[in-house]
Every structure is written in C-alpha cells, then in structure tokens.
C-alpha cells in the first residue's frame, strides 16, 4: 500500500469528522455552529488549542461574505504553509551528501519507539546500499540491548554493545571507534528513553554529544527526536526541551497507523521549525516513510472536498 493511502486510511476517522463538518460548511456558508464543528475536529486531531484558535480567527475574518469553499481552501493552505518547511529530503540523500561515517543520535522520551525506529531505519539504509552500524546506548532499560540485538540479527546489521548498567557514553565511544575501524557509512545510536524534565538525564545526553564531537569532529550529524504519534500537547514541551538542550535536527513521528493524527506536529513546525525526517505508519520495516506536508494536510482533510 502506498504511503499516502496508508496515512489516509490511518487518518480516516478524523478526516471523516473534518470532512463532514466542512461539507456542511460548504453548503451553508460560514455559520458559527459549523465553525465550532471544524474547531472540534481540529482539536480532536491534537492540533492544539492555540494553533486552532488562530486558524479559526483567520477563517472567521476571511469567511465574511466570501465563498465557503474558498475559506476551506484557506484553512488547508494555512496548514500547508505551516507544515511545508518541515518537509525534508529523504535521509538517504542527506547522508550521501554528508561525511562518512554519518552519525545519527536517536533520542526521545520513554516508549515512543526509538529502538524500533532506529532498527527500521538501519534496515532502510542497508537496502539503499549503505553499511549501517547500530550502537546500543540504552544501558538502562532492562533488555533494551537484547531488543536491539535481535533486530540487528534480523536485518543483518552489526550491533555495538556493553552490559546493562554500563556508562552509555562509553558505548558511544566504542561505537565510534568501531565505525572508524570498519569504515561503515552510518552509525545509528539508540539511547535510553528519558523524560525531558529530568535534568541529570538530559545532561547525560549533552555529555554523549560532547564525546561524539570530540571523537569525530562534526558528529552527531543528525539528532533525531522520536515523538509518539498519540502524544498530545506535551509533544511540544518535549520538542522544545530536547531542542533547547541538544539542538534537534530532525523529527520522527511514530505510531500513526492507529487513529492518532499527530496534529501536535503543526504546533511544533510553527514554533521550532524542525524538519520531519520520518513517519511511522505501520509495524513493517517499510512502514517508516518520508514525511510530505501536502499529503499530510490532504490526508487530514480529505482530497476530494
């Protein structure tokens, strides 16, 4: 199934919500009750109350005396304008252009799907003809190392690891040494999940970044923040805090195959302007896809309106 269809299917529920509201909008002109429905649909997509309030304001201003279909187009255009800068080239292109080894540091709060995404990304890069290396720097969570190892075996990628409880920075250090010795193309570092409010754990990431840069000037080349697609407004707080501490260079939004819409992306794109490198739309390895703003907005609203 194509990415677009998959996403559309995933987003079906909201789309129906938004769409039916919008159809009525088209039929009846901009009437407050209908506006309220549109607002509700956007809110239920986790777009966030502030962004929604702003959009509704624009719609109301614009709506007076104009064709409702036009207003709807405006709403879509507004969302697209916000999300377009977040669209990025495929990671493969970026990596090919960048230095070797290209180092990707995967970070995020607990349970967002870092390990799974890192493994799927490694598999994708391998299929593109590159040699990836996985580094199991989550030495905290029980069996996190085993989880990555099993993935490594499955996709045929080497995993650098220490024992559970080891200093994650030491694993990173070894990972870089191994990457240099083996001449790999990409190093993917899987770190332990941590809440963005824990100062000492955030400092640990800073240290990892420092050591990376010392061992390989310029590294990490990509600091990839993984967000859970079902996350609410806290997603913005997460992105802000990680960005402030480390300088996030790309986002991965996972678990979009449920009924989650990932609307918080709108607020993040507006506020932080971080490109979205990947979206996860399913369990399979090929379900880790590139983000396209137009398709995201279209899927949210339904193309046929």
């Amino acid at each position: 199934m194509a990415w677009f269809d998959r996403l559309k299917e995933g987003l079906l529920k909201t789309r129906q919500g938004v769409q039916s509201s919008l159809r009525r909008l088209v039929g009846r002109g901009v009437d407050p009750a209908v506006l309220e429905e549109v607002e509700a649909a956007l809110l239920s997509a986790d777009v966030g109350v502030r962004a929604v309030d702003r959009m509704m304001e624009r719609l109301r201003d614009h709506g007076r005396g104009t064709d409702p279909t036009e207003s709807l187009g405006l709403l879509k255009e507004t969302l697209f304008e916000i999300l377009a800068p977040a669209q990025s080239e495929p990671l493969e292109t970026i990596i090919r252009r960048g230095p070797r080894p290209y180092v990707i540091l995967a970070i995020g709060v607990n349970g967002v799907g870092k390990t799974t995404s890192v493994a799927k990304l490694a598999s994708r890069l391998k299929q593109a003809g590159m040699t990836p290396l996985l580094v199991a720097a989550d030495t905290f969570r029980a069996a996190a190392i085993e989880q990555l190892e099993i993935w490594g075996k499955k996709i045929g990628v080497e995993v650098i690891k220490h024992r559970q409880g080891a200093d994650p920075t030491a694993v990173v250090f070894d990972g870089i040494a191994a990457a240099k010795a083996r001449g790999v193309d990409v190093v993917l570092i899987d770190t332990a999940g941590r809440l963005h409010t824990k100062v000492n754990l955030m400092d640990e990431l800073k240290k990892m970044k420092r050591v990376l840069n010392r061992e390989l000037p310029g590294a990490p080349h990509e600091i990839l923040l993984t967000l859970d697609g079902t996350v609410g407004q806290n997603g913005l707080a997460q992105a802000r805090q990680f960005h402030e501490t480390l300088g996030v260079t790309g986002l991965a939004l996972t678990k979009l195959d449920g009924t989650a819409k990932g609307g918080v992306l709108v607020a993040i794109a507006e506020d932080l302007k971080i490109p979205v490198r990947l979206i996860g739309v399913g369990e399979q390895e090929e379900d880790l896809q590139d983000f396209r703003a137009r398709e995201f907005v279209d899927a949210l609203f339904g193309v046929e309106v």
Binding site: L43, S44, N110, L195, N200, G232, D257
Partner: protein, 459 residues
C-alpha cells in the same frame, strides 16, 4: 504553561475585587482561561465543553464565601468538578477471596506495561504476598527478557515461554500455563503482561479477547501514557469494548504532562484510575487520589501527598521543635543540615518540587541555573557543614577568614562557596520565618495558601 492558571484566574478577578457575587461576565472570563488550560492539558475537547458549562452554571450567582476571593471561589468550584470527574474516592484493586487474584495489563505499544508489571510485582511482594508475573508478549523483541530481568532484580518469579513463538494459540497456551502454575504453586497474584497493540488492530484485539477468556481475570487494567493526547478516549473506549476494563494505570506522570488524559478516560468510560507510575524505578508506583490529581491539573501541586511523605519522615516533636526555632530565629547551621537531610528522605528534589504549587516553574528555574543540579548542590552544602566544628555549626558568627579557609579545604570547596552557603543559610532562616509567620505584621504566604486549601473540603 499550566501552573499559571491560578495566577491567571486571580488576575481576572483582581479587577473585580470587592464584588460580593460572581456575575456571568466575570465567571465567563475566568472560564476562558480554564478552557485554554484544560485543552492544553489534553483533556478531551468534548469533556472540556460540558465541564465549562457545568462550572458556569454552578458559579454564577453564588455568594462569595467570606474566606475566599472570587478567584479562589471559582477555582474551588473547578477543583470540585475536576475531582468528581475523576471519581470522588480512590478505587482499590479487587482481590479475589480465593487466590490467586488474576490481573491483566493491556495497552498501546510503549505505554509502560512491562515496567508497570514489575512495579505491581514489587508492591505485592512488599505487602507480603507472592506474585507471579507472566510475560505474554511474544512479539516485541526481548520483551520477555525485559520482564525476566525485572523479576530477577526484584526477586519475583516470572513465567515465560521457552521460545518466542508468535501465533495466537501459542500466546493463549502460555497464559493458561502461567495461570495453572500460579494456582498449583500457591501464588497470591498472577499478573499477565500482554504485548502492546493498537486498539484498531483487529487481529491482536482478538488475541486479547482469547487471553481474557482463558485466564478469566479479576482485574483488566489499561496502562496509558499520561502524555497521550485526544486519542486517549478512543483507545480506552475500544479496549473497554473488547475486553472490559476494570481500571486504568496512568504512567510517566513525573514529567510535565498534566495528564488531562486521566480526566478524559474516567469521564468517558467511567473506569477508575487506580495507580500512577511516577518514575523509572521499581518503587515509583502511587495509589491514585482524584482530589490530589485535581490539584495537580490546576497547577496547585499535590501538597497532601507531600505532607503524608513528610509525616513519615519527620516526627511531630521534631517538627514542633523546628517551628519553635524558626519562629525565635535561633535556627543553627546544624538544624539547617538536618533539614537538608530530612528533605532528602522525602524523595528526589524533582519529585518534591512537582508536589508543590507552582513547582513546575520552580523546576525549570532550578534546572536553568548555572550548574543548577539541586541534588549535587545539597551534597556540597552538607559537606561544607560537615567540615565545621560543632561549635561553628551552632554559632555561624564564629566563622572568620582562617576558619573559612580550613572549612573550604576540608570540604573540597572554596572560601567563596563557604560564604555563599552562609548567605543562603541566613536567607533561608529569614524566609522560613516569614513563612511560619512567627512575628507580628503580615501573615505569611503559607497562611494565605492554607486558607484556600482549608476551603477545599477534603483537605
């Protein structure tokens, strides 16, 4: 973003000071802030709408209680409504009279089921019961290893399959075996850690139904991430439809997520929240109290839990003697040191701050400070005081240049740091005095806050 709600509402009402009755207009203005705040806390938008309507109805026309400002009055109504939404009292686990009690943890991927399973195991063990954990997630690589590793750390038995087999009947068979083992070997509680699954994944939801039929659990608990957005209600409703939930465990609550999801799940499905996951360690599991959560959602902190913890850590006599000393301004560095160590007993600085009103903001401030790790800082302070002689600790005025130099050397710090500590100590002494409100003059800040807290019925 949320902790400022109380402040914002007070601001709305500041203009209206002296009014005896809450009018439609001033209530509406305050409720606009409440709506914004609730939506930002990820409370389901439908629930927010109903909620605001109900509060408005209750608030308008009500006479302002003598002890409360109009702003506090509205907050009180909001607080009561929030508490009621989450179910007035806390709901315990229903334990079977004939052991083993069978529990099943279900939820989305990454919500924290396995970690929570370990925490529950630890809790039951501490209560003197024999828990058995069953690793019923054949799909996520190393999920069984994770539970086994938690189990061995906690000295709790884990039942798991010999190999990772993924068919539906394999999982059901494993669960049946786990239950039989629990029953035959006299375990008190058997907890099934099922794999994460999407609520719309029909195949996997069927598996869950099969497991439920096979083990016939007393408790089916949904493990949900506190950071979940509007999706929370969908997820809970779907799981409830398929396997009939008996309650919810909310995880990752120790961050800055307000946990609006809690409110939504309870209000939409009527299922009580039973526990909160408040950290990564095995003991970070707390019984859920709706009234306290209401305070947290309003950014008022969870003073009650803090008080309970403090009561465990301090004796009454200690507290009284401290209060006397503070009021008479005879607090010494020795007491100061004692205080710091006592505070450490309450939990990490982070956890304590989150329980205080406006604590989230304090946390950011503390984190932003140069070298601002409060825990480290506290250790240094204790080290400096430890390097003083007993006499110096009782009388800080003795400290001259050469004594300070000696102390700095002894504690591995510098004279500047010793000076800073003394300044901090004196500052803290003055501040504590104003909080206790010992002397004449204005009532302390704490007293004012207490007035509000007292007005909230269950406090």
């Amino acid at each position: 973003m949320f902790s400022a709600l109380t402040e914002k509402i007070e601001k709305v009402f500041k203009k209206l000071r002296g009014q005896g009755v809450l009018t439609e207009q001033n209530v509406a203005e305050a409720l606009k802030e409440v709506r914004l705040a609730l939506l930002e806390a990820d409370v389901n938008f439908k629930i927010v709408k109903d909620f605001i309507g109900r509060v408005q109805e209750k608030a308008v026309g009500r006479e302002v209680l003598e002890s409360l400002s109009p702003g506090h009055q509205v907050i009180k109504i909001v607080w009561e409504e929030l508490r009621d939404l989450m179910g007035q009292d806390h709901a315990g686990l229903s334990l079977s009279s004939v052991p083993p009690t069978v529990m099943m943890l279900v939820g989305l991927q990454g919500s924290g089921k396995t970690t929570t399973c370990g925490k529950l195991g630890r809790m039951f063990k501490h209560q003197g019961k024999r828990p058995l954990l069953v690793a019923a997630d054949p799909r996520r690589p190393a999920a069984g290893d994770q539970l086994a590793s938690l189990g061995s750390d906690l000295d709790v038995t884990v039942h798991r399959a010999d190999q990772e087999g993924a068919s539906r009947s394999d999982v059901v068979r494993l669960c049946t075996e786990g239950l039989a083992r629990g029953r035959d070997h006299g375990y008190d509680v058997v907890i099934f850690d099922t794999g994460g699954r999407l609520h719309v994944d029909d195949e996997l939801m069927l598996e869950l139904e099969d497991i439920k039929r096979a083990v016939n659990p007393h408790e089916v608990l949904l493990v949900a991430d506190a950071m979940t957005g509007q999706e929370a209600v969908n997820v809970a409703e779907r799981f409830d439809e398929r396997v009939g939930l008996t309650g919810v465990i909310l995880t990752k609550i120790e961050g800055d997520a307000r946990g609006g999801a809690v409110l939504s799940i309870r209000a939409a499905t009527g299922k009580p929240i039973k526990f909160l996951g408040i950290g990564e360690k095995a003991d970070a599991l707390e019984v859920f109290h709706p009234d306290r959560m209401a305070s947290r959602i309003l950014g008022m902190g969870d003073v009650l839990t803090l008080i309970e913890k403090a009561q465990e850590a301090f004796s009454k006599e200690e507290a009284e003697s401290l209060q006397r000393k503070v009021a008479s301004n005879t607090l010494t560095l020795e007491d100061f040191r004692e205080q710091i160590l006592q505070v450490n007993k309450l939990g990490s600085f982070d956890q304590i701050l989150s329980m205080l009103p406006g604590g989230e903001r304090l946390k950011t401030m503390a984190g932003a400070q140069e070298g601002g790790l409060p825990e480290k800082e506290m250790k240094r302070v204790v080290a400096v005081i430890d390097s003083m002689t007993p006499r110096e600790r009782r009388d800080h005025t003795l400290l001259n240049g050469s004594r300070k130099k000696r102390i700095a050397r002894g504690s591995g710090t510098s004279v500047q740091e010793v000076n800073r500590l003394i300044k901090q100590f004196l500052g803290a002494r003055t501040m504590m005095k104003s909080l206790v409100g010992g002397g004449p003059g204005k009532p302390g800040k704490l007293r004012k806050r207490r007035k509000l807290i007292r007005a909230l019925p269950s406090f």
